[in-house]
Amino acid sequence: MVLHTPPSPELVENIIPIADEDLSRKDYASDVDTRWCPGCGDYSILAQMQRSLSNINVAPEKMVFVSGIGCSSRFPYYMNTYGMHSIHGRAPTIASGLKLSRPDLQVFVITGDGDALSIGGNHLLHVLRRNVDVKIFLFNNRIYGLTKGQYSPTSELGKVTKSSPVGTTERPLNPLSVALASEATFVARSYDTDPQHLQTTIEQAARHHGAAFVEILQNCNIFNDRAFADYTDREVRDERLLYLEHGQQMLFGENQDKGLAVSATGLRVVDAHGPDAGLILHHDATRPSPDVHQLLARCNYPEMPVPMGVIRQVTAPTYGDYLDGQIEVQKFKNRHDIAQLLKGRSTWQVE
C-alpha cells in the first residue's frame, strides 16, 4: 500500500527568517580569530557567506551552521550565528534532526570532500534523497588538509600525496554526480576565487526550498596548491568554465563563441557561429529528469568546459513538509488523549 499525502501548498515554500534591522557583513562575523592558513580559499568563502547572508538580511539568531571535522568544518566558529562543530561526517544527521524539529531555523551544513564523501558518504546520500530542508556547502580541495596532506575521495587517480607516495590507486568521486544520483533538488557549483559568482550561488541555495548541495572548489595552498588553477585562473577561466544560467544557451569562451550540444555519447563542444550552432542546448535547471544535469556534471577539463552555477533546481515537497503534514492530518483524524493512550486497547478493574 502506498500512502502519499501531498502537503498543503502553504508548506511548500521557503520562508527565510529576516532580521528586523539592516545587517552588514560584519554583523555575521564572530569575534573569534580565524585560524586557517594564510592564503587558504576558506577565507574567501567565509567572506562571501557573510556577504550573502547580509544581502538576504537573514536573522542571525535563526541561522545555524552545523559542520563536521576538517579545515572547512571550523567555519561555524567564525560566524556570529548559532553553530555546532560536530563529529566527522555526521553534520547532515545533526542538521536533519535540528531542522525537522525546528522548522523555523535556517540550517546550513559546512563540510569538506573527506567529511562529506568519505566518512560521511552515507549521510550525504540520505539527506539529499530525503530532501531535508538544509543547505550543504562542500568545500572541495581534493586533499585532507587538517591531517596534513593525505589523499581524499576526490583526489585524482595516481595523485602523489603523503599517504600515496607513489600515487593513489583509486578513482575519485564526482561530488555533483553523487548529489544528482541522490535525487537532490538543488545542485550547484562555484569556486573560491570568483566572489560574485559564489555570493550569487550561496543566495540561490539559501532561497531554495529543500536540500541544496553546493560544491565549492577551494584551493588548499599548503597541501594541494593550484588544484583547480588550470580552469579557474583569471586568464583562462572564460575559455575553460561554462557559467550556467537557467533558460540561457550553454555558451562559453572569451567571446561566447562556443556552446554545448548533444552528441551520440553525451555532450560535445560546437562552434557558436558554425553550422551546428542551432543545436546548442538551453540550460533547463528545472528539468525533472537529471539526465542532462548528470551529463553536465561529468564535463571535466581538459576535454570539456567545467560547468559553474546551478545545474539543477526542481520543486518538491521536503521531508519536513511530509512529516508536518502527517502530524497535522493525524491530529485532525485521531484523538490525542494521553489518558486514553495509557489505557491501551482494554483495561480491567481490580476492586
Binding site: S30, V32, A59, P60, E61, K62, V64, F65, V66, I69, P76, Y77, M79, N80, T81, Y82, G83, M84, H85, S86, I87, R90, P92, T93, I94, A95, S96, G97, L98, K99, L100, S101, R102, D104, L105, N122, H123, L125, H126, L323, Q326, I327, Q330, K331, K333, N334, R335, H336, I338, A339, L341, L342, K343, G344, S346, T347, W348, Q349, V350, E351
Partner: protein
C-alpha cells in the same frame, strides 16, 4: 494416559466443578506453549494472557522466538515458545520450569521437554508426530510410543485433524483450516485452567471481523478444543488458580517496550516539548520505533535513519534545537553510536538513549536477553566521558524510568542512557494505569534562561547546585554562540587547549554526574539493614532476585535485598549499605559487570551469581545459590 502426582506449586485443594468433575485449586501455574514459528504460539500465548488478566490473576509472560523469521517448518531452529505464569498472589517472574507444556510438534517437544517439571502435564499434537517431523527433530523413535515420556502426564490430542474437522464445512483451503490449530490448542488449555472464552471471542471478532469465514473458523476451533477437554477423560488435569488480590485500580497489560513508548509520549506531555525519536531498526528495540510512528497525532516525529549513527545524530540535532531528542537501539547500535554519544557529553545536551540490551558479542543472539551493556554504556567511549545510566526493573517500570531519565537529562543538561533488555521488552504483566494528572511536570530550565539579559549569558556557566550548563537552543536573539566537540573553556565555552582548563572541565563533567545523586532517591533495603548477607541486583533481574530472596527467607535465612535503578551515579548511601553486611551477592545476567563496579568503588568483596544463557535468571537456581552462600 500416564499419570503421576502433580508437582506444581500450591495447596492442591480440590473443589467440585459445575459439571461434576473435580477441579484442583492451585496458587500458581506456569504454562508454556511451544510450536513452529508458523504455528501461532505467540498469538495463543497473548490470548491466554488476556484471558488471565480478565480472570484476575497476577501474571508474567516470557515470549521466546528465533531470530529467523521462518526457519524450515518442523525444524529445531524454527521453534517458537510463549510462557505464562499466573497466580493468586503477586508474582515477579514468568516462572522457571513450566507445569504444563503444549508441544505442537516433535521439534517443540525436543526443545522444551527438559524444562518441564517432573510429573508435569504434557499436551502434544499427536498428528504432528509423523516420521518426517520426528526425523527433523532428530528423534530416533517416536517419544509418544517408546516410553521416554513416562515421567510426565500426557494428553495426546489430534489437534490438527480435530481443528480441520471442526471447520470442515466452511470451505477453507486445507492450509487455512490447519492454521486454526493454535485456537484448538488454546481452547483445550482454557478448559484445563478454567479460563473464560469471552475475551478471546471478542478479540477474534475485532481482529477477523472483516473476514467472517476466518473468524468463524477460529471460533469453532476454540470451542472444539474446549469441548475436547471437557469430554475426554483428563479430569485430573482440571486446575483452577483463584484470582489474585491486587491493589485496587484500573489495570492493563503492558510489555517493557510498550511502557517505553508510553513513557516517551508522557514525557513529551510533561515537558511540553515535541518528541523526536531517531532510530534504526534493530531487534529488540524496533517495536519502540514502530509504535511511536503510529502516534503522529501526539506530535511525534519518528525518523527512521540510514544507520545507527544518523539515528543518534538526528536525536542530538533535535536536543540541540530544544526538543525532546531520543534515540533507541540495542547493544550493537550503542557501539556504533558511541562517538556521537560523546559529542553529547562534550556539548552537554539533554539527550535520552534507550538501550534494549540483547545477547552478544557481535550479532550474538538478537532475540535473547542479557545484561551485558552496563560497562559499555558506562565506559565505552574515548576520553573521560561520564554520563547518567539508569535501568528499569520491570516492564511497567520502563514507563517511570523514562520520565526519570528525561527529568535528569533536562535538569542536569546531560545525555542519559536508560537500560532495558529483551526480557523486559517482550514480557507482559498487569500494570496499574497511571493517572496522567497525578504525574509531576518536568521542568525545562532553558525556558527561564531565554529571558535573562544576554549580557549575563555564558554557554558553559553552571548552576551552582547541579553544575548544569546554561543551555539555550538556537532561535533566541542575543544568545548566538557556537558549541562543538572540541574541549570547551570553562564558562565561556570557547575552544580551549590549556592543561589547567582541560583538568577543570574533566573534573566538572564528572562532578556534575555525581551531583545527580543529590537529586534522586537513596537506595532502599528490603530486609535487615545490616547483618550477614545482602543480595544486590539491578535491571530486569529484579523479579527473579526478589522471588529467590523470599524463597531463601522462607527456608529460614535472614537476607537483605537491594535493587539498583540508578547505575551512574550510584545512590549516595550505596557504599554504606554494601559495607554493612558480611557477604554481598550480586546476581547478574552477565559475567559480573555491576560486581566489578561495586568492588572498584567500595572495596567490598562482593561475590557474583552469573548466568549468560540468553534466558532470564532462574529464580530456583538463584535461590539455591543464595541459600548456599548464606549457609557458608
Amino acid at each position: 494416559m500416564t499419570t503421576t502426582s502433580p508437582q506444581a506449586n500450591g495447596s492442591g485443594n480440590t473443589a467440585t466443578a459445575s459439571g461434576g468433575a473435580a477441579i484442583q485449586e492451585r496458587d500458581r501455574v506456569t504454562v508454556r506453549f511451544a510450536g513452529d514459528s508458523g504455528d501461532g504460539m505467540q498469538l495463543a500465548g497473548n490470548r491466554f494472557a488476556d484471558a488471565t488478566a480478565v480472570f484476575g490473576n497476577d501474571f508474567s509472560t516470557l515470549p521466546d522466538f528465533p531470530a529467523e523469521i521462518r526457519a524450515p517448518a518442523g525444524s529445531l531452529a524454527g521453534v517458537s515458545s510463549f510462557q505464562i505464569s499466573f497466580s493468586k498472589h503477586q508474582i515477579f517472574t514468568p516462572g522457571d520450569e513450566p507445569d504444563t507444556l503444549v508441544a505442537m510438534n516433535p521439534a517443540a517437544l525436543k526443545s522444551h521437554l527438559a524444562a518441564l517439571t517432573k510429573g508435569g502435564l504434557l499436551v502434544v499434537n499427536e498428528d504432528a508426530f509423523t516420521s518426517g517431523n520426528l526425523k527433523k527433530a532428530n528423534y530416533p523413535s517416536n517419544p509418544l510410543a517408546d516410553g521416554s515420556l513416562d515421567d510426565f502426564r500426557i494428553i495426546k490430542a489430534p489437534i490438527t485433524t480435530a481443528a480441520i474437522a471442526a471447520v470442515e464445512d466452511l470451505g477453507l483451503t486445507t492450509q487455512n483450516a490447519e492454521r486454526t490449530k493454535n485456537f484448538f490448542a488454546l481452547g483445550l488449555v482454557y478448559w484445563l485452567y478454567d479460563r473464560d472464552l469471552e475475551p478471546t471471542l471478542d478479540w477474534i471478532e475485532q481482529r477477523f471481523g472483516r473476514l467472517p469465514n476466518i473468524a468463524e473458523a477460529n471460533r469453532r476451533a476454540l470451542f472444539a478444543g474446549h469441548a475436547y477437554g471437557e469430554t475426554t477423560e483428563i479430569a485430573d488435569a482440571h486446575v483452577r488458580v483463584p484470582p489474585a488480590v491486587l491493589t485496587p485500580g484500573e489495570y492493563r497489560t503492558i510489555t517493557g517496550n510498550q511502557a517505553l513508548v508510553l513513557g516517551l509520549i508522557t514525557a513529551s506531555h510533561l515537558t511540553d516539548l515535541e518528541l523526536f525519536y531517531g532510530s534504526y531498526p534493530i531487534t529488540p528495540a524496533s517495536d519502540v520505533l514502530v509504535e511511536l510512528a503510529a502516534l503522529r497525532e501526539f506530535g511525534v516525529r519518528t525518523f527512521q535513519a540510514e544507520d545507527e549513527i544518523s539515528a543518534i545524530g538526528t536525536a542530538i540535532g533535535a536536543a540541540y534545537g530544544g526538543g525532546l531528542g531520543v534515540t533507541g537501539t540495542s547493544g550493537p547500535g550503542i557501539a556504533l553510536k558511541s562517538e556521537a554519544l560523546n559529542l553529547a557529553v562534550m556539548t552537554e545536551l539533554p539527550l535520552l538513549v534507550l538501550d534494549v540490551q540483547r545477547s552478544g558479542p557481535s550479532t550474538g543472539m538478537p532475540t535473547k536477553t542479557e545484561q551485558t551493556d552496563l560497562l559499555q554504556v558506562m565506559f565505552g567511549r574515548n576520553g573521560e566521558s561520564p554520563l547518567c545510566v539508569l535501568a528499569a526493573k520491570s516492564p511497567g517500570d520502563c514507563f517511570y524510568m523514562v520520565l526519570e531519565a528525561v527529568r535528569i537529562a533536562f535538569q542536569f543538561v546531560t545525555p542519559v542512557v536508560l537500560l532495558s533488555d529483551t526480557y523486559l521488552a517482550n514480557t507482559a504483566e498487569p500494570w496499574p494505569v497511571p493517572d496522567i494528572n497525578q504525574l509531576d511536570k518536568i521542568d525545562v530550565p532553558y525556558r527561564k534562561l531565554e529571558h535573562i539579559d544576554p549580557e549575563d549569558f555564558q554557554p558553559y556557566a553552571r548552576d551552582p547546585e547541579t553544575l548544569a550548563r546554561m543551555f539555550v537552543p538556537p532561535g533566541t536573539k542575543g544568545f548566538e554562540h557556537r558549541i562543538g566537540g572540541l574541549e570547551k573553556s570553562d564558562i565561556s565555552g570557547d575552544v580551549a587547549y590549556s592543561p589547567e582548563n582541560h583538568q577543570r572541565m574533566t573534573d566538572l563533567r564528572g562532578e556534575k554526574i555525581r551531583r545527580i545523586a543529590n537529586f534522586m532517591p537513596e537506595l532502599e533495603v528490603d530486609g535487615p539493614d545490616s547483618g550477614d548477607m545482602l543480595v544486590l541486583s539491578w535491571g530486569s533481574t529484579y523479579g527473579a532476585v526478589f522471588t529467590a530472596v523470599n524463597d531463601a527467607r522462607e527456608a529460614g535465612h535472614e537476607i537483605a535485598h537491594a535493587h539498583l535503578q540508578y547505575l551512574n551515579p550510584f545512590p549516595r548511601n550505596l557504599g554504606d549499605i554494601v559495607s554493612r553486611y558480611n557477604k554481598v551477592l550480586i546476581p547478574e545476567a552477565n559475567t559480573g559487570q555491576l560486581r566489578m563496579l561495586i568492588r572498584a568503588n567500595f572495596l567490598v568483596d562482593a561475590q557474583g551469581y552469573n548466568e549468560v544463557t540468553g534466558q532470564p535468571l532462574s529464580a530456583r537456581l538463584l535461590t539455591e545459590a543464595i541459600i548456599k552462600m548464606a549457609s557458608e
